[in-house]
């Protein structure tokens, strides 16, 4: 029992997501290198490799694969990747509340939400699509700014504000998905 929990601890706390994949801890990420490292690790630890093995190896494989999947998912998502990087530098995005959201950003969010409501109300899939594209563009801009703040300027407190803006946009994207299901 103690050995099992030790293994679980090891698989879940081992260093940063970046180290796990042998990558530099930067916001700007080499997506191809990440995917290659992910697949090479999975090829060695995945439960399918150990389906005929003993319990001990199957358990260790399950724990490692879980850890690798979670790290991969986190690194692929810009909000989670940025939050992870900031956490590595001791900045907690959730507790960094002293920076108020810019009024211009909030006004823009209100507009986007109104557009979403109108599109849902009039069952306009085209308008939803246009909204999605506009959010995708805003996210791209935010990603560029995040790369600047984190990788070049190392201004983590300022980056935390941008991460929160990005969270707003992700939430909106999820709501657009929900709206598609409503109007279908």
């Amino acid at each position: 029992m103690s050995r099992t929990s030790a293994a679980a601890g090891k698989a879940s706390t081992s260093s940063s997501h970046f180290e796990l994949f042998g990558l530099a801890a930067r916001f700007q990420l080499d997506a191809v290198a990440l995917e290659r490292a992910y697949r090479e690790i999975q090829a060695r630890v995945h439960p399918d490799r150990f389906a005929h093995a003993g319990d001990a190896e199957r358990r260790a494989s399950l724990q490692w694969t879980t850890r690798v999947n979670e790290a991969y998912r986190a690194l692929k998502n810009p909000v989670q990747r940025a939050s992870h990087l900031l956490a590595l530098h001791g900045v907690d995005v959730a507790f960094e509340t002293n920076t108020a959201m810019a009024p211009a950003f909030l006004a823009q969010q209100m507009e986007l939400r109104e557009a979403l409501e109108n599109a849902t109300h009039s069952k306009d899939a085209g308008a939803l699509g246009a909204l999605q594209q506009s959010i995708a563009r805003d996210k791209q801009t935010l990603e560029n700014r995040l790369a600047q703040r984190i990788d070049s300027e190392k201004d983590y407190a300022a980056a935390a504000g941008l991460v929160r803006e990005m969270q707003f946009l992700e939430k909106l994207e999820a709501e657009i998905d929900g709206a598609y299901e409503l109007i279908e």
């Binding site: 090891k10 090829a43 060695r44 399918d48 005929h52 003993g54 190896e57 999947n69």
Partner: protein, 620 residues
């Protein structure tokens, strides 16, 4: 054709080196078993050469059980005791079943999963499915000449936790060592991808007898990655039969029917549907037990009209999967058609129109799932050398969450997460001095608990009394490679630990399964003890072999003080294997498993180190 293989003189593999493994497609309408022989996946036919086994089970008053064609032939004579499409009832209550009033069964409502009252007694859908699996296991053992080392059973990708657990239980009840539950569209993609050496993004449109799945996969050399999956676990060819059935009743102005006539007309409806695949109209004639004659003609146009909404219903999940994958229709390079129901021309047309390309039909839609499952079973059994095998990355179809205040769902693991997956979330107490918390585990996409499927409830007790909001209770969800969930909760602020683990069960506790196992043997010729011994031996030999090959590969990773207990436990297991005491074998297996834990962890660490050192393996 693959060439037959001949070993080098003196190096011929012992019979046990090649582990007998099969893939089983446990279908709503038909089931199949397939295996890989001489490098080629083939479906194993019955003694009469028939590849399919109708998924029909008939219970006789004397306890005899008939499965397949024999049961099918008598289904209209004995509808109550002849169970068809039992897959629709797996992990389901009576309220979940569509057209329950049109089904000629004697349902018994039971917590978790419904039961069926038959001449042999009250049966759970798990027991009925196990009868089908048992016939396929015996068929495979006869064809392959030995006990099976392992099997892969396919499930619809959109099956939820309850349905998956029920399927795995049925496998266990049938005496199978289930290596993995594999999603049907993924199995089809393996068979298809390997057969055509395909690369790129593919959609698999799988309309079976009772379930619909749509999976989107990225295929690249050596990797099958499911990007998104969607579907409807209550939509299939059966629903088309149902529409035709209702149309006949309406056309012929029939009064309410007896169970026997109901089954008779459903069979005629199915025959008409199949006939219309290649013909413009189908004549439906039959004499009912009341003496009434039915004589109506169904043409293609009418058939398309009365099933139009069903065809459209499949396109909702298609759009949802594309959205989840972040892909547009023209990103998809091919659409693979799977399941007998995709033979209907209106389905082919609707899919072609939606994807703006002709769907791919070059593998038999009835066999492709079993063939893919056999290929995966062969890999899981370790019969393929590294470099020649492949990596399969699959996802969970439905979000897993927990109930919070006000009957709302907090999602913990979102749908389309790659499995295995684990995620935790912290919760706290609502009242001062609260020492217990109760958790409700749910599955589904909706915000209200009442709109999701309830999986399990459990309580965490022994939280030290604290002010409201001070306790820190971490709930962790772990989904394994079969898509099955286990949940744990732990309080951590004061260092006082309390934890609990639940495995959701659906009216079938382990004790129930034990009892069913015993019951099933009392009707069969097999001896319980002999079966237990065979299973323990297969398991034990597998472990001896796995340990040996691990030691051969990585003995250098082991410090002498860790090596000794392994060698001792290994010797003890080999000695136990020579005996005929299945309990002794099981005990020795447990001991060896414990002894190899540190070694297993070292090997896993080493695997990751090597992967990052850039030592590429074969095809990846």
């Amino acid at each position: 054709m693959a060439l037959l293989q001949i070993s080098e003189p003196g190096m011929s593999p012992a019979p046990h080196e090649r582990r007998l493994a099969v893939g089983i497609d446990l279908g709503t309408t038909n089931s199949l078993v397939a295996t890989v022989r001489n490098g080629v996946a083939t479906v194993l036919p019955d003694a009469q050469g028939r590849p399919l086994l109708p998924s029909i089970v008939r219970y006789h008053p004397d306890g005899k059980v008939e499965v397949g064609y024999a049961a099918q032939a008598r289904q209209a004579d004995d509808p109550k005791n002849t169970i068809v499409s039992v897959k629709r009832f797996m992990g389901r209550g009576v309220r979940d079943v569509d057209h329950a009033q049109n089904a000629p069964y004697d349902f018994v409502d039971a917590p978790g999963m419904l039961r069926l009252r038959t001449a042999t007694g009250v049966k759970s859908p798990v027991e009925v499915s196990a009868e089908i699996l048992k016939v396929l296991r015996e068929r495979a053992e006869l064809a392959l000449g030995d006990a099976l080392a392992g099997s892969v059973i396919t499930v619809p990708a959109y099956f939820d936790e309850a349905q998956r657990q029920a399927t795995k239980d049925a496998g266990r009840l049938a005496g199978l060592n289930v290596l993995r539950l594999l999603n049907e569209p993924t199995a089809a993609a393996i068979a298809y991808g390997l057969d055509n050496a395909s690369e790129g993004t593919f959609a698999v449109y799988d309309l079976g007898g009772g379930t619909f799945d749509l999976s989107i996969l990225k295929l690249s050399r050596g990797v099958f990655e499911v990007v998104a999956t969607s579907g409807d676990s209550m939509l299939g060819g059966d629903d088309f039969d149902q529409r035709v059935f209702c149309w006949i009743v309406e056309q012929a102005k029939l009064a309410p029917l007896s169970p026997r006539d109901m089954r008779l007309l459903l069979v005629r409806a199915r025959e008409a549907k199949e006939y219309l695949t290649l013909h413009g109209e189908a004549q439906i004639t039959t004499k009912l037990s009341t003496g009434e004659f039915v004589d109506v003609t169904l043409d293609t146009e009418t058939f398309c009209r009365i099933t139009q909404t069903l065809v459209q219903k499949t396109l909702g999940p298609v759009r949802k999967a594309l959205r989840d994958a972040g892909l547009a229709v023209n990103d998809v390079q091919g659409v693979v058609m799977v399941g007998g129901a995709t033979r209907m021309p209106q389905i082919q047309r609707a899919v072609a129109e939606f994807f703006r390309r002709d769907p791919l039909n070059n593998l038999d839609p009835d066999k492709v799932v079993a063939l893919g499952a056999a290929m995966q079973a062969n890999v899981l059994a370790g019969n393929k050398p590294q470099g020649e095998d492949w990596l399969l990355l699959d996802v969970i179809p439905l979000s897993l969450g927990v109930e919070t205040m006000g009957g709302l769902v907090e999602k913990i693991i979102p749908r389309n997460s790659t499995i295995p997956a684990a995620r935790g979330r912290e919760f706290t107490t609502f009242k001062d001095g609260q020492t217990g918390m109760s958790f409700h585990v749910v599955q589904g996409e909706r915000e209200l608990v009442s709109d999701c499927r309830s999986l399990a409830r459990f309580e965490l007790k022994g939280i030290p009394p604290m002010a409201a909001g001070a306790a820190r209770v971490r709930v962790t969800y772990q989904v394994d490679a079969d898509g099955l969930l286990s949940v744990g909760a732990k309080e951590a602020t004061t260092g006082a630990e309390a934890s609990v683990t639940v495995k959701p069960s659906y009216g079938l506790a382990d004790a129930d399964i034990e009892r069913m196992l015993r019951d099933s043997f009392s009707h069969a010729k097999e001896d319980v003890h002999a079966r237990a011994l065979t299973e323990a031996r297969v398991d034990g030999e597998r472990l001896v072999e796995a340990t040996r090959s691990a030691l051969a590969a990585d003995a250098a990773l082991l410090a002498p003080e860790h090596r000794q207990p392994i060698d001792r436990a290994l010797a003890a297991l080999e000695k136990a294997l020579a005996s005929s005491d299945h309990r002794a074998i099981k005990q020795a297996v447990d001991t060896l498993n414990r002894a190899t834990e540190p070694f297993a962890e070292r090997r896993m660490d080493e695997g990751i180190r090597r992967a990052l050192a850039g030592k590429k393996i074969g095809s990846l």
